[in-house]
């Protein structure tokens, strides 16, 4: 698809790349999204979506040399700022790596975003109600809307939590729901993440770097995101145990060797609270205290970035050194709030996911506003038979895995891989679900061959305290490998700044 060489709408003198020689060819000239795929920037006739022309046109003026310079600036900013994760390198100790960043933003028009936002708030409300119910009365199980065995066989089901109602009944303080867009451009929920979703620090840092490197594009029309830490802090304060005036909140990290450590540190810094490890806390008389230079100091709310299993060796894994002995005792006594609540994994289990639309109907008496991907639950006999017969057409996912691991992309897999999954599914059906391959939408991305379409997903973040708030945009992850559907950073994924673009005034 040829794109007409655009005449930029931005004033020529205003752009930082004004000295760069204009390329004789439009960098988008050869841009061609794959068939049956929605493109985030261009319609099927090769015209930018109406909301995006002000973003695409200035990008046409950046030539390759200049682009590389900007990319280097961005990379240096991440590296110097320590926006990195550690990878272990043989013989060299730990090395800092940056999360690959692509400078072409992913843009969502405000009108579309409003619908996404409403859908997310609705979905989180239902998931929260589900958790309150399964750890309480279990109405939904009694009425058979969600099969009891699916809940009780979930690896993340925490029966110890029954009867412990967290402050305000809030379980899902922070959600990072993964969305994709199908061939028609509809947003679909791919996966719920309501345990300890990560990535929000990249959203904020991406924006900082973007503003530094490409300050003029989209200026004034991009919805701000800088409020996130303040909103989270507010939500944390709102669930503090009764009687805590000026509640003290901390972020609990497994430590600097965790790959998301930068984010833990970032959030603590931006929320103005302490970053602690398990060994910085202790429980005495069912209350949580921090070890400080001024002696013991009460802690009211903990944003924990440690998985349930490792939180408290007295209740869960006894060998865990990351957690705080007695923490669950203090939690059960109502003396400390944990963000997110313990046991949430039962609701974002991939085997429970197919039931979320029914949860929305059950708890809210509403129809789901966001669609989701049709899913076969291998636990159920008819589903399993269908899946085993169609492995080469489907995407198979292990329910307990994340990060793009434990996954079979049938249409792109070898016979051997398919045979291996056939055995695994047959041996442990509860652990597998299957979905059709969604043609994830593409977004223009700089590659060695110039600007090319690459598949993206979107992880928006929803914060819930006494009400829900959705961060405008979220983390766009992009599969940098040509043709790939896997956006995870561990497997060749990068990220982009995500703009919710207000209407032009």
């Amino acid at each position: 698809m040829a794109v007409r060489s655009g005449v930029g709408s931005a004033a020529p003198g205003a752009a930082p790349w004004r000295d760069a020689p204009l390329e004789t060819t439009d960098p988008f000239a050869a841009y061609q999204p794959p068939p049956d795929t929605y493109d985030e920037a261009f319609d099927r006739d090769g015209r930018p979506h109406p909301a995006l022309s002000g973003v695409i046109d200035p990008l046409r003026r950046i030539d390759r040399t200049h682009y590389r310079r900007l990319q280097k600036l961005a990379g240096d900013a991440f590296l110097r700022g320590g926006v990195t994760f550690s990878v272990y390198a043989k013989g060299e100790g730990d090395l800092d790596r940056i999360f690959p960043f692509d400078l072409i933003p992913r843009v969502v028009a405000r009108r579309e975003w409003d619908r996404v936002e409403a859908g997310l708030v609705q979905r989180i409300a239902a998931l929260n109600a589900f958790l309150e119910d399964v750890y309480g009365e279990q109405r939904i199980l009694e009425e058979g809307v969600v099969p009891r065995e699916m809940v009780e066989s979930s690896r993340s089901w925490r029966p110890q939590m029954r009867g412990i109602r967290p402050p305000g009944g809030v379980y899902v303080h922070i959600a990072g729901t993964d969305l994709v867009r199908d061939g028609d451009g509809r947003f679909l929920v791919l996966e719920d993440n309501i345990r300890t979703p990560s990535g929000v620090s990249y959203v904020l840092e991406n924006r900082m770097v973007m503003r530094r490197v490409l300050p003029d594009i989209g200026a004034g029309r991009v919805a701000p995101i800088e409020d996130y830490p303040a909103r989270l802090r507010e939500a944390m304060a709102s669930v503090a145990p009764a009687g805590a005036r000026d509640p003290s909140a901390v972020v609990l990290t497994p430590g600097p060797f965790n790959s998301a450590y930068f984010e833990h540190s970032f959030l603590a810094r931006r929320m103005g609270c302490e970053l602690v490890r398990g060994s910085d806390l202790f429980v005495e008389r069912d209350r949580v205290y921090a070890r400080t230079t001024q002696g013991p100091s009460r802690v009211d709310v903990i944003y924990r970035r440690i998985d349930d299993d490792f939180l408290d060796p007295e209740t869960f894994r006894p060998e865990s050194l990351l957690g705080v002995p007695g923490l669950i005792r203090a939690y059960a006594a109502g003396n400390v709030a944990l963000v997110n609540a313990v046991g949430n994994g039962v609701a974002d289990d991939k085997g429970i996911y197919p039931f979320v639309p029914d949860m929305i109907r059950f708890y809210l008496s509403e129809e789901p506003l966001l669609g989701q991907v049709p899913t076969w639950v291998c636990q159920r006999e008819p589903d399993r038979r269908y899946v085993l017969d169609h492995l080469d057409e489907l995407v198979i996912k292990a329910v307990g895995e994340a990060g793009g691991y434990g996954m079979l992309v049938g249409p792109r897999a070898s016979r051997k891989q398919i045979a291996a999954f056939r055995e695994r599914v047959a041996a442990d059906p509860r652990n597998y679900i299957a979905q059709p391959l969604v043609q994830l939408s593409t977004c223009p991305t700089w590659t060695r061959e110039g600007i090319a379409p690459r598949r993206v997903d979107l992880r928006p973040y929803v914060i819930t305290g006494d009400r829900s708030w959705v961060l405008p945009g979220g983390l766009t992850r992009v599969a940098l490998v040509k043709g790939s559907y896997v956006v995870n950073s561990s497997q060749g994924g990068g990220s982009k700044d995500t703009w919710v673009l207000e209407e032009e005034r």
Partner: protein, 339 residues
Amino acid sequence: MISRVAEGCFWLARYLERVDSLARLMDVRHALHIDAGLSSAWRWRPLVALTGQEDDFRRRVGAELLDDGEAIQQYLTWDADHPSSLFSAARGARENARTVREIMSLEAWEAINDLWLWLQGSDSRRLYQRNRSGFYERMVQSTLLFHGVSHATMLHDEPFVFMELGRAVERAGVTASIVDVHRPADGEEPAGDVDAARWVALLRSCCAFDPFFRRCPDPLSGKAVTRFLLFDRSFPRSVLYNLDQARALLFAVRRNDPVGLPRRSRTALERLRGELLQMDLADVEQRGLHSTLSWIVGATERLCDTIHYDYLDPPNAWLRHCVGVLESLSAPLRDTRAA
């Protein structure tokens, strides 16, 4: 603040101080080659001893190289397994900075991170090969940059105080050690020019050349230099100046104390500082310069241990006991919260 974080701040500053003092020492030694015809044994070997790694050097590098200036510089600069090499100390500073990043300003963090990224890259190796003095100066300047930037951009609250405290305590000990390294061997009768070179080297190693001559315009003597580096109350690298600083900082950390927290560090500091205040050079000579300096170095190490006990890593049993005291007090718990 969280004890572990205070510990990170304390050690971050101590490591940087080690970078600063060792780089400066090496730079001066490197230049000494021109100043006086001293053997490299005199110039370099003491530095290996100063970093406390002579045995390690013999074992891993080779005893026969103990007089080899290049081998020793290589070892003290780049050796990743030598805990106090410039490389390791910079890494230690940066690792601590990463664990306390949340209390630092972006600018202060970047000052340390830039140093570390530079040391890991090839530019630093090239500079080391081509312009040794330039390399050491760059190391020193990076630490000065950090001090300036942290002072100018960070909140001057507890984390900053613990950084300053780490620096002051480390510096008091390091200055005493550096004086000790330059001390004439027992019974040594040095020739005049060698002796002068020695004291000049000592002054420059402590960044004290100009300040000293403003204070003591008399002909250069070991006594005057020693007195200046131990007792001057306004020279920022003298032992006493740093103990004064440490005292002010330690008193700033904990103003009120409802539960009677331990205060071993105050006691240790007051004892050391009190003794030094009573001393003059005659007392030092009577006691012996080396044994006085060793006593100071040992006392600062013990001071660090007590700071760990009181603030950085208090025993859990003690903290649990404090919870009991707190709860029995009628004063609301909220008042005892750390800022």
